[in-house]
């Protein structure tokens, strides 16, 4: 543990408590689980902020960040400090020009795995090499690639508020590898469009054709049999039903919730529900009336 006063100016004061702020999932140690999230955080940590980094981490963990909004190349956030009104934090990342993106996409499209991994929610391992090979860089390199501002009185930039926002962004990288592209000026759909080699050859169908067709009204059957009986379905129509070997796999596929503002992470809170619901679902499926009724007893 560091001593409470580290010699910076002004002396750190206790921030005001926030209810419902965004809390980092990380409880101790490093932020971000994926290499690309850590890579992003490494950029911040290379700025030698000293004690501000530690305080930024603790802000992020305490939920001092009230909100985060992300646009192309920019992030705006509100962070609660010791003053009454939260500070405005702005982060600007240098975007890459369109022609450069086009050139880079050409390189990435040579192997299916770049797009495949990204679409599956993962940053391809050697994406940076690919960028470097094309004479560019995915993550901000120099200090000039990253411009930060905060409305707090701290003269140091980045301050702890900026650091807190930065750390939380790092965690969102875990879930959404497209985030870095967005910060570099290209959103998900644009990127996927560029990576699709055949998109140029086949124009996308017009918007109207892709939208779901309007639902036509379906009059009630007028024959007594269709009205009262419907038609029969085969025995065993509902197929095999077994609780899955791995519980809450669907949740696992989605990953963490973006900028979750709760004391307990969402996945941790809802995962146990899956097991309990599964048991009840099986009882319902098997028609075990008394067991189902037992679950509904007040």
């Amino acid at each position: 543990m560091r001593p409470p006063f580290y010699g910076d100016f002004p002396p750190p004061s206790r921030p005001r408590d926030v209810k419902g702020g965004i809390r980092a999932r990380s409880r101790r140690g490093a932020f971000g689980e994926s290499w690309w999230a850590r890579r992003w955080i490494a950029v911040l940590e290379s700025f030698e902020l000293g004690g501000r980094l530690q305080r930024g981490r603790s802000y992020a963990r305490r939920g001092q960040v009230v909100s985060i909004a992300i646009g192309k190349g920019r992030v705006e956030a509100l962070v609660q400090g010791s003053r009454e009104t939260p500070y405005d934090v702005k982060l600007e990342v240098k975007t890459l020009p369109a022609p450069e993106w086009k050139r880079l996409a050409g390189v990435l499209a040579r192997e299916a795995r770049f797009a495949a991994r990204l679409l599956a929610g993962e940053m391809p391992a050697d994406v940076e090499d690919a960028f470097r090979g094309a004479g560019s860089s995915l993550f901000p390199q120099r200090r000039a690639d990253l411009r930060t501002r905060c409305s707090c009185p701290d003269w140091s930039n980045p301050c702890k508020h900026i650091a807190a926002v930065y750390y939380l962004l790092g965690e969102e990288f875990d879930r959404d590898p497209f985030l870095i592209f967005r910060l570099r000026g290209l959103d998900r759909d644009e990127l996927v469009g560029l990576l699709d080699r055949t998109a140029a050859a086949t124009p996308a169908p017009p918007e109207a054709a892709r939208a779901a067709p309007p639902i036509a009204p379906e009059p009630l059957p007028e024959t007594p049999s269709g009205f009262w009986r419907g038609s029969d379905l085969p025995q065993g129509f509902l197929g095999e039903v077994e609780p899955p070997p791995v519980s809450a796999a669907l949740l696992g596929r989605l990953g963490q919730f973006p900028f979750w503002r709760g004391r307990q992470p969402l996945l941790e809170a809802v995962a146990p529900i899956y097991g309990a619901a599964s048991a009840l679902g099986l009882d319902v499926f098997l028609g075990e009336v008394s067991r189902v009724a037992g679950r509904f007893r007040p």
Binding site: V192, G230, V241, R261, G281
Partner: protein
């Protein structure tokens, strides 16, 4: 009677009901007033409308756990097929019995006002769950098709929740934002949804708030989606434990609302809620992408085509598989080629989905990752080791992640898959001559042999295979998979070779209860000598010695009965419990009595007594049949108020050969039974213990017995859920513990329709169940074309006291009267007594309630249930039209199925239609009640295989003529005639008189019952007297309507 309906309107399931309209004059003024009031909106009150309070009241009693307290009624418009200004009722149950209209050619949808009860989601779950696979919820509470459809939707919701196909979401409605668990429909589930919607009865969406808006126009799919979302949400919500802490953010408010009863996310800024909803959408995007895509990624393992073992020629191909049509398979190459002819492939979303899927699969199957270095990957090549890794590891992981996986048939085909296994060879030890029986503890020698398919492997071959260290080996042109573990276990067995084992283990292997030794499946068992003989006989249920019937048996056993009796004796010698499940009427009782008598004779009377436990309604039957067939067996009926207790009872029991008691007394007097050891315990109507957790099942298992027999007329072997309890009574441990049984049989069979598990269960339980049908070739030859049998019933206390009262009144009058007057009085008395025997409500003619007051009606209902379960049809004759009406109403209420009723007042056209419907195919009504006068002659009713004479016409010729309705030209099956007779009453006495002088009677009686009036007063007194066996049987214990013994209309029809 109420026919229950449920329809979805404005996102809620609303309950409404149809019941028979009251005659116009008796319709309450209020209803008429309402009908006038609504004329303005052009919807009149439906004549079949059922008061909401009646609906709520009936349901609250019939559905476990359901509380309808505070349910608000709402009048809604139902659009119903109508003809000539009247709505058509949904079922003929509502028209006056038998007057069923045929579906008219043209009907229109017209609005009718009905009272509805909107159901909360929790109420809907409970109601629908109770309706699963049921025809009625309670007597008179009928589950109509639309309600049954929603019950199927609930099961679908249950299946989705069980398989964890749901995610938390945010839904906006008019009332604001709501936290909701939403179903995720993927692959086969998406197809099920479409097929369900197509099968939906129109009634499921026929309600609308107002008539002016016209009939509802929403689609079936919309209605289905609405209900499915609501039910899934409710199930998960119920399982979720609400977090009590006050929420600090909108995110936490949402999380919390996922576990609250209503799910509302309250008191939050709209902007915040919209932001959260967007975040939820963003979070769920990967799942939405895959469920919305028209294809899914599919992997196909292809084996080398060259034929020789070339090491790199296995391949895994990537394909797009249609979600709606899984047989549509498009190679990935085509998707990468933008000029492809497949129109759907032109959509960039398809390629995006394909790429994302590959990226995901790469994490589960490393070679896929490798293949992605190409710009347009279409698969990868591998060797035998790689193929094996794909088969044993990747395939399951990919399948679970939702990808399609197609594997070679030699791998997936369970029967044909060649693999290492073992065979057991059993040698029979020489038996000592002295012992009578061979028990399950007898030790025999077992040799183990390792085999591949049909061929035994030598040690050298086994070692050679072990040295190859290849998981996939090509043997005799087929790929064979073997693990190092299997080879180790096989070598181990080689070292052990022979070992002694008890017969119990051998039996378990032979019947498939034990299927593997370690990792090696047992492929077969061969047994030589007497062990082999015994196993073969047990499995085939033939070949065992046919025993001569016991000397004291006063009946000639038909050949199939002799086989059944010998089979029982064969299992008895092995100490194995037996379930005799012959069709009703084939004589289970006489076969059992024969066995009990034989045992008694073998032990020269020194044996312990046998115990028969049966429903109260058949105690009298056991008593009479034992008197008739096995007079050598002294019977003690343990029932009624005066029954013995404690040591007195035990002493009396030991002094008799046979004790007969009821299930309800087994419970109540268990302490008295406890101190006794029985030679045999027989459970009659053994389906009474089908639920293993009930006290009667536990009590039955607690009885100490040398041998156990279960009798039932229902196809018990088909009902997986019921089987365990009966087998556990017969042969404890054979089917494993309840948990083991549930895991290895119940869930695979009920939930997964696993044919192999079904076959295994049949093999395991089959040797202990003997079921012959009347239609079996081996049986039918032994049966006369017409079988007549008496069904002895008992009176309820109420019937007995009414009987006594009628008798006391009459005796005085008869003693004084003479001539014509005396004749009249005698005939009137006979008629009154018969009515009392039938039902108090018939005698009193007071419209009083029906259930639980007549022993005869209770027995008839039980027997009709068996007839219905076996898919047969029955005629029920009564000489009283009023009784016919009572029987008809009672059976309709009990089973929720239409019962035809023909009496003198039915016009000719209707009468012909009834006959036609009864004789027609599978959909027609299965029970036809007829008054003897109206239906006794002329009709051709050969669809019936059972004829019941509910009361007796003391003229055999009239009865025979009625019976012949079913037994006419065109009848190809055997017909059973059941004559119901109340024990200890005039019915039994007169029956006996007719039987004893049948020939005489036929001359004397002529056409009527007049001959009875010729009897002297003393004779008459004897005939009419009420004897003790008539009463007391119902005695102080439960009436026939008690839960344990009444026919269970709620019995589930879930079958294999």
């Amino acid at each position: 009677m109420i026919l229950l309906h449920v329809a979805l309107v404005r996102g809620r399931l609303c309950l409404w009901g149809e019941s028979a309209p009251e005659p116009v004059g008796r319709r309450p003024a209020r209803a008429r007033a309402r009908a006038r009031a609504v004329r303005r909106v052009k919807a009149a009150a439906s004549p079949y409308d059922t008061e909401a309070s009646r609906l709520s009241g009936a349901l609250g009693d019939a559905v476990p756990g359901l509380s309808m307290a505070g349910a608000a009624a709402e009048s809604l418009v139902a659009w119903l097929p109508s003809v000539a200004g009247e709505p058509l009722p949904s079922s003929p149950l509502l028209t006056a019995a038998g007057g069923a209209r045929q579906d008219p050619a043209a009907s229109d949808l017209k609005p009718w006002l009905v009272s509805t009860v909107p159901l909360s989601a929790a109420q809907a779950v409970l109601l629908l769950c109770a309706c699963v696979e049921r025809d009625t919820l309670a007597p008179g509470l009928v589950v109509s098709k639309d309600l049954a459809f929603w019950a199927l939707v609930l099961r679908f919701a249950g299946a989705l929740v069980a398989r964890q196909r749901f995610l938390p979401g945010m839904v906006e409605s008019d009332l604001g934002w709501r936290a909701q668990w939403t179903p995720v429909l993927d692959g086969a589930d998406a197809q099920r949804r479409v097929r369900l919607a197509a099968a939906m009865p129109g009634a499921c969406r026929a309600l609308s708030p107002r008539a002016a808006a016209g009939p509802p126009e929403g689609t079936a799919l919309e209605a289905l989606d609405g209900a499915l979302a609501m039910l899934v949400d409710q199930l998960v919500r119920t399982a979720a434990v609400s977090t009590p802490a006050a929420p600090e953010s909108v995110d936490e408010a949402w999380l919390r609302a996922l576990g609250t009863p209503d799910g509302d996310v309250v008191e939050r800024e709209p902007a915040e809620l919209a932001r959260l909803a967007a975040a939820v959408r963003e979070w769920r995007r990967p799942v939405a992408v895959s469920t919305d895509a028209p294809f899914r990624l599919c992997f196909r393992l292809e084996e080398p085509t060259g034929g020789d073992n070339s090491p790199t020629s296995w391949s895994v191909r990537y394909l797009l598989q249609g979600r709606r049509d899984p047989s549509l398979l498009i190679p990935a190459e085509k998707a990468w080629d933008g000029r492809s002819a497949e129109r759907l492939l032109g959509d960039p979303a398809v390629r995006e989905h394909l790429l994302g899927s590959l990226g995901q699969a790469a994490g589960l199957c490393p070679p896929v990752e490798q293949s992605l270095h190409a710009p347009a990957p279409s698969g990868y090549e591998t060797d035998a080791r790689g193929a094996h890794a794909f088969l044993t590891q990747s395939a399951a992981a990919l399948e679970q992640a939702g990808f399609g996986v197609l594997l070679p048939s030699w791998w997936t085909g369970k029967g044909t898959r060649l693999r290492l296994g073992v065979r057991a060879q059993v040698r029979s030890p020489r038996l000592k001559e002295s012992g009578g029986g061979v028990g399950l503890e007898q030790l025999v020698h077992v040799d183990w042999q390792v085999a591949l398919g049909d061929e035994a492997l030598t040690l050298a071959e086994l070692r050679a295979l072990a040295r190859m260290k290849e998981p996939l080996v090509r043997v005799r042109g087929q790929w064979v998979h073997m693990t190092a573990e299997e080879i180790r276990a096989a070598l181990d067995l080689w070292r052990r070779k022979a070992s002694p084992a008890p017969m119990r283990d051998v039996l378990r292997i032979a019947l498939g209860a034990t299927t593997a030794i370690g990792p090696l499946p047992i492929e077969g068992i061969e047994a030589a000598g007497w062990v082999g003989d015994a196993l073969a006989r047990l499995e085939a249920q033939t070949g065992f010695q046919t025993l001569p019937p016991p000397a004291g048996l006063r009946a000639t056993l038909r050949p199939y009965q002799q086989r059944g009796y010998s089979w029982l004796a064969f299992l008895r010698r092995w100490g194995l419990g037996a379930c005799l499940a012959d069709d009703m009427g084939l004589g289970k009782t006489v076969q059992t009595l024969g066995l009990l008598l034989a045992e008694r004779e073998r032990t020269a009377g020194g044996a312990r007594p046998a115990l028969v436990v049966c429903p109260t309604s058949v105690i009298g039957n056991w008593q009479r049949e034992a008197e008739r067939f096995t007079p050598g067996l002294s019977v003690l009926v343990h029932h009624g108020v005066g029954r013995g207790r404690g040591e007195a009872f035990r002493r009396a029991a030991r002094e008799n050969a046979l004790v007969v008691t009821s299930y309800s007394l087994l419970l109540r007097d268990l302490e008295h039974f406890g101190g006794l050891e029985w030679s045999t315990v027989v459970l009659d109507e053994a389906q009474n213990i089908k639920n293993p957790e009930t006290r009667q099942a536990r009590s039955a298992r607690a009885l100490v017995a040398g041998h156990r027999i279960a009798l039932t007329g229902t196809p018990v072997e088909n009902n997986v859920g019921d089987l365990w309890s009966i087998m556990e009574f017969l042969n404890p441990g054979l089917l494993g513990t309840p948990a083991e049984f549930k895991r290895s049989f119940f869930i695979p069979i009920q939930a997964a329709h696993d044919a192999a598990a079904t076959a295994r269960l049949r093999r395991l339980s089959g040797p202990f169940i003997l079921r012959r049908l009347k239609t079996d070739r081996s049986v039918i030859a032994d049966l006369p074309e017409k079988m007549e049998m008496k069904v002895y019933c008992t009176l309820t206390r109420e019937q007995a006291s009414l009987y006594q009262a009628v008798l006391s009144d009459a005796e005085k009058v008869i003693a004084r009267a003479e001539g014509i007057e005396r004749k009249g009085v005698v005939l009137a008395t006979l008629s009154k007594l018969k009515q009392v025997c039938n039902h108090p409500a018939q005698f009193l003619a007071d419209n009083s309630p029906i259930p639980g007051r007549s022993g005869k009606l209770a027995r008839l209902t039980e027997m009709i249930e068996e007839v219905m379960e076996s898919g047969e049809r029955a005629l029920v004759f009564s000489q009283f039209a009023e009784m016919g009406a009572i029987v008809t109403a009672h059976l309709q209420e009990a089973f929720g199925r239409e019962v035809l009723f023909l009496h003198g007042g039915v016009p000719r056209g209707a009468r012909e239609r009834m006959v036609e419907r009864f004789q027609s195919g599978a959909e027609g009504p299965s029970v036809f009640v007829l008054s003897l006068k109206a239906g006794g002659t002329g009709l051709n009713l050969t669809a019936a295989t059972h004829v019941f004479h509910f009361d007796r016409w003391w003229n055999p010729a009239v009865e025979a003529q009625a019976t012949d309705r079913a037994f006419r030209i065109g009848q190809t099956r055997r017909v059973q005639v059941h004559k119901l007779v109340c024990l200890g009453t005039l019915e039994e006495k007169i029956d006996a008189m007719i039987e004893s002088k049948r020939g005489v009677a036929e001359q004397v009686v002529g056409t009527g019952e007049g001959w009875l009036t010729e009897l002297s007063t003393a004779e008459l007194r004897q005939v009419l007297a009420l004897r003790p066996e008539a009463v007391g049987v119902w005695g102080a214990d439960a009436p026939p309507s008690s839960k344990s013994e009444a026919p269970d209309p709620l019995r589930r029809r879930a079958k294999v």
